[in-house]
Symmetry: D2
Subunit: 485 residues, 4 copies
């Protein structure tokens, strides 16, 4: 690995695939801006006062066109930004190019190796001698993880002189993380401590990242305040649900051109992501079957006419398999062997270990035929039949299509901007401890409100007497905290 940081004429660092795609990226950003009213409203409302003046923000979040609009919203509000992707396949190279050229330091390209991925993450976190970041925008928690692991290693090193040992773990990816930390330690044994000290907080995008944060909070190991953006209603009930409803069929079509109508599709998990996937597949004419561990979600599926079975029941008759669980070991290589010829297997949950890619790769005699990037046919030697795996088991909507569309990402990212503003505004007030917070409901409602006009909606206004009757303020918030929507 001899990755070289490059610099723009203005001296800003970057590492992207192809700078010549920047103009194309700009055109697509301009389209996206029209579809992202929440972010554009933030620019209009907060831009003039430059609230992020002086703030250095690192982002680890899919470097797509939508993220580009987020980044340029942060910079429009005064921030300085460094960015990497949180998934090796999710970068859109034209988006990376235009942001690198025009707006922020970007380290991201589609098809990174795992080593390259973590190199990019480290670059995004490294603000040089001036120090930084002040704030982190995280998706899945890898930036947060690196800092926490770094601090931990530095503490051990300080106490014992022991460097982290990559050989101490079987997990190939974690070996890379340890290597990076080890190499960093040699250069500066307080690198991550300095980072931690300066850090005002992180806002986290996903279910999986949030889960990690709550675990650290519960263990007392969380090093800085965190805002759980995922659990804003305008995030998890929109991005996860409607975003996946859009991008799952998009990914399937771009990767395989398969007719969804008439097929039997198995969706593993019926949370928000699973609900969106099941809805999309059903509406496209598939017969959908879900697998679930949670009886409540299972009963919801049944109420929609969706059959609930175990993977074992359907593994040999289904045509399409989608994992949405955020868990691991959902579809194992032994399952894949039993599938029909050309069954499609893909993941839209979180990590690639939802599908047993390791087991597949190591299966004796298995043959991998790459139809096109992110679309591989794996042929088993016993049967000479194959299955089609998308995006190497990673997020197929980002690997095979372009992720979630701008409008729904505008909801999610407006939450991010608001969370970042809140952390930054309160950086000295002590309002936020080393805990995980959700945004207050009135901000959640505000995010929604910013997206209604674009769709031509008109809200009804409560009269004072109606508001009193149901005991809410006229201007909201309208629901109790635990309301489920």
């Amino acid at each position: 690995m001899a990755l070289q940081v490059e610099k723009t004429t203005s001296g800003r660092e970057y590492k992207v695939k192809d700078m010549s795609q920047a103009d194309f990226g700009r055109l697509e950003i301009e389209l996206a801006e029209v579809e992202m009213p929440g972010l554009m409203s933030c620019r209009a409302e907060f831009g003039p006062s430059q609230p992020f003046k002086g703030a250095k923000i690192t982002g680890s979040l899919h470097m797509t066109i939508q993220t580009a609009v987020l980044i340029e919203t942060l910079t429009a509000l005064g921030a300085e930004v460094r960015w990497c992707s949180c998934n090796i396949f999710s970068t859109q190279d034209h988006a990376a190019a235009v942001i690198a050229r025009d707006s922020a330091a970007v380290f991201a390209w589609k098809g990174e190796t795992l080593q390259e991925y973590w190199w990019c993450t480290e670059r995004a976190l490294d603000w040089g001698p001036g120090g930084g970041p002040d704030l982190i925008v995280d998706d899945g928690g890898d930036a947060t993880l690196l800092i926490h692991e770094g601090v931990k290693a530095e503490e051990i090193y300080e106490k014992t002189g022991k460097l982290p040992d990559p050989a101490s773990t079987d997990n190939a990816e974690f070996q890379i993380v340890l290597t990076i930390i080890r190499d960093g330690l040699k250069a500066d044994p307080k690198k991550y401590h300095k980072m931690q000290e300066r850090l005002v907080g992180v806002s986290e995008e996903t279910t999986t990242g949030v889960k990690r944060l709550y675990q650290m909070q519960d263990n007392g190991t969380l090093l800085f305040p965190a805002i759980n953006v995922n659990d804003s209603v305008t995030k998890s009930k929109f991005d996860n649900l409607y975003g996946c409803r859009h991008s799952l069929p998009d990914g399937l079509m771009r990767a395989t051109d398969v007719m969804i109508a008439g097929k039997v599709a198995v969706v593993c998990g019926y949370g928000d992501v699973g609900k969106g996937c099941a809805a999309a597949l059903k509406q496209a004419g598939a017969r959908v079957i879900i697998t679930e561990i949670d009886p409540i979600c299972a009963l919801q599926a049944l109420m929609e006419g969706i059959q609930v079975l175990t993977l074992e029941d359907v593994v040999s008759v289904a045509d399409i398999f989608v994992t949405t669980t955020g868990n691991k070991d959902i579809i194992m290589v032994d399952d894949m062997k039993k599938m029909k010829n050309n069954a499609i297997v893909c993941n839209i949950g979180h990590f690639d270990n939802e599908i047993d890619m390791l087991g597949l790769e190591n299966y004796p005699g298995v043959k991998r035929i790459t139809i096109k990037p992110q679309t591989d046919r794996w042929v088993f030697p016993e049967t000479n039949t194959g299955i089609i795996v998308l995006a190497e088991g990673r997020l197929m909507n980002l690997g095979c299509a372009t992720g979630h569309p701008s409008f729904v990402m505008s909801c999610s990212f407006t939450n991010q901007v608001i969370a970042q503003l809140e952390l930054w505004k309160e950086r000295k007030s002590g309002k936020y401890e080393k805990k995980v917070y959700v945004l207050p409901k009135h901000l959640d409602e505000k995010v929604a409100a910013l997206h209604l006009g674009k769709l031509g909606a008109k809200l009804t206004k409560l009269s004072k007497s109606q508001a009193d009757y149901i005991s809410v303020p006229v201007e909201g918030p309208y629901k109790p905290a635990n309301y489920r929507y």
Copy 2:
């Protein structure tokens, strides 16, 4: 009012419409039992140990066939029960008859006057000299209200000697409540205090009742512990949503036989009830428009392709209007005047004041033509055109049809049984203070699980390593408390 309590041969009190319908009621109960696996499982699990032995339970909840199965579950577990309906139109007379004959003291019939309604409520609360009730099953909170108002009046009376004055309020219904309390006070100035002292707690069924309870909790006026059954996921996300999706079209069809396809239908409110109604109307081929005050719910509607406008925008073009808000003054008589001839106006929210029935009744020159019970055409003198109001503005699914179907009520009522069991079991432990509680998630999940087998579903089981990976117990609960489903 000269209502007379009657007695069965065994001496149990009742007041119902027609005892000869009891056999028909029994046949329908037998059908319903097959559809209510949660309640039947409770009988199988808890029946042998008779946990309610000695408990006197008063219920104020629509006296339908489904409620009959609930009542007989309570009695099968050892309870003694008295019951009234919580809505003047919601009683199914054959259900009331069979329960009165076979299982519990019932005071309920379809088409009560408001005076009769409160007489029934008082009868259901009056356990005679032995005292009682120990527990209340409430729906909308009228039984709870009567006790709270009674206690309040008794305190004033004790301090000041003043009796409640029905003339002190404009609200016709509250005048009746005050009259009942006043008359009771004369007979026994400690009646409601004695009730309160004995009362172990209440479990409340609805959004509206729950709201009242939280207000009392916040004001410090709640007199006994309460379990909020409404906010069990297996209640509010099932009964409210899927129940209304079933019973709204059922009510429309039985009342008017109108073709829903092709019509423009306005649903006021897009909470769980509104979501169910909108789904039903859309699927039946209507073009649905919703009105909302909450931007988040509005954005959800838009994501489903449903237009969001104000009532004013559509009042003169729509064919069907449904209120689902739990608020008041949603459709006023001035709105109704602007509607198309034979526009249908109905309420499936909570109280009849969602529709301005008072304004309609008092409109000068308005003519009411009763097509059949619960289906009235109101003709305005200016235009000689009319609108069709269902169930006099009260819950149309109960007034014009038979309410929610057994299966979904089994979910709700299994929560009730579990809540009652919990209150009773902990009656001396001090576990429950004078506050409002929700059931723990593992019980919520249990309720769902009890309903899967009937629908042929098979759950997937977590492995230990998967459970650890997502940090949940293998046997659940699987979701954080704030999970929205």
Copy 3:
């Protein structure tokens, strides 16, 4: 059988259940008129010229509120009318009463015996000494059948002196037909010949009736011209499809209150009726499985995500069974024995022999428990479990609910009016031979056009150059005859 014709004060004959329901019938007719713009347009357009002046029309078609509006449209255009129902359960008694009182001779009530049914049919055809009818409105072809069988029997009698022998057939219903003809023959051996000679033609409503007509046309035995109203697009693609989509769940709910969501529903046949039923069940949250003989219809179901299996595959797991085939022997008693306890079995196709009612009734030891009229639980002795059969195997939407809603029947019945007008106008022109005709497409389009305004639709108009480009007249018809819609 000692059925007595009654007479109104004006001397018109009738036989209905309860004349006191006439006012209620009038109120419902007034509601229906608002929903039947096609029929009301016919009254406005043709009423003044009284085109049916002198025409005597006999109808054999479900005596519902919608049919009442049809009848009063015929009389508004100048016709004299006699009517019977075409199904023993389909009469709405208030509709029959009001028509009998105000508009036409009616012989119909809900719950006729088969003998009563044919007595009514004969009464409707018997115009007394003045002769008649001139025209027949038929549904299923029973009026047409009686005349054809009568003529056949008269010919045999004339040639051979032999009277029809009811004992010559096993078919219980046909025995009754033969008895009626036999008795008629004795009174007037030329009765049906006279009828035939006068008859201008018949317009037939249903798939089943139309099939009979084409068979007679092919055999050369059709005795008068027939217009196939069923195959107007605005009939079969609306009434059959959207009508059943409305009335199937309506019937299920009124008869059983069963929750459709979550259930497994089998729809036998995926023609227009089956498509409507499957759509309704799916949208209500059932998991639908269809059975089909026709590979094209089967493939259509698959494209909608509906599984296609044989009855045998699913008989023991499904909850609801609906026959829609127009064929016989679809669900046999041996199938019913294998069903789950309280499985619902019903027919919305045509005759009650889609379900093996005879086999069920004659099953040794079977027990019939009538829950309520048209809802029977049949318990098998071996298992002591039962199934629920609706409307005794006859059309459940008419037997258990109120049939199709007014709006869609307005489409069907406007076709009937137009067909009757056409037959009557051309009665002397020789335009129509003893064959089966469909209405020309421009009339079909006209029927549709008459129903758009009520639903707020606006049509686009072709420019002349556009019309030329696609080679159609500017004013239509717009599609070739074989277009499938």
Copy 4:
């Protein structure tokens, strides 16, 4: 234009974009074969007997992967094949490459100019001195048109010596056609006559092409027999409906990544294509409005809850516009000027003149910004806002995505193979005159049956007595010719 035919090592002619994509094409063909059971069954059933031995087939039909499987089915049955695309954007270059390399003479690439397009068409028709083609597979009728125009010109030339004059028409494309014919005439004044004499017949794929054929039949100018494949149920009710339901959102997503949920989408035309498009958009969460000229189709839309308005009513509020009419002048430049910024305008009907591309291109001061190939933003000078036009107004599903998926094309193309077999088998029998024919229903049903197994469906078999009861053969066909499905 100096287009050069190239030759494979085996000497077969071709002209494609990039021969190096052939391997990729082969991989995708192998995937497609699994999805095209109808074509693969034809290979299994007919391959051994080589029925096309000696037949030279020219195809003018989108040169996609699916078409590649069709071509290799024709060659597997013994035919020799030459092929061109019927749309300048619809070729998939890897499909063209692999077929050119392995199976047939191909002249097609994505992004032809109109001149190149007609050069390709002529090449595909030119079988050299040996003569040919014997059969034509046509889509839209361009190959058929060229022959008919050629023959007409040759006749005029023979009689008058006059050559066709390209300047005689305003239509830019027809100028090219006339030029080609003129140049051909000089070389061989009997070229098209010879072609016509040899030609056994054509099978035509589309509504538009079929309309041309019927016009020629009616005018008596049709030069050879034609089989109308479009009106096979398994074509028009599958490919047009379910194909577009799949490929419309696919094209929208690939071209614009726009979120469909929440948008207002206008579908012009509600025929089979429009029905598929409206269904797809509705299911994706758009609010759909249709425009229609035909009252019957309009009423169908209304029954599905879809609003029917004129373009004028909605032009300034909608977000997405789709033309599906097969007519011209549906969306004019004056309409486009009134649209919202970044409104999307696209065509999935037939020719690009559904959208007024000419008017748009010639609009004074309009600016065209190509976001990416087939996705152009056109900015009007007055407002500086723009609209997004897909595929230059041509078929967006082929231009922006990959057309219809394999499975549904297998239905269409199996009809093509059967039609070609039928024409070839009867080439000397005189069975087919110079008329337009549809395939008999039993073959239509056979096509469907060949596609059921792949989807796991099981058909029910009629008993003999059931078949007799409904008067059809046990083995089908099951429906009358005019049945609408």
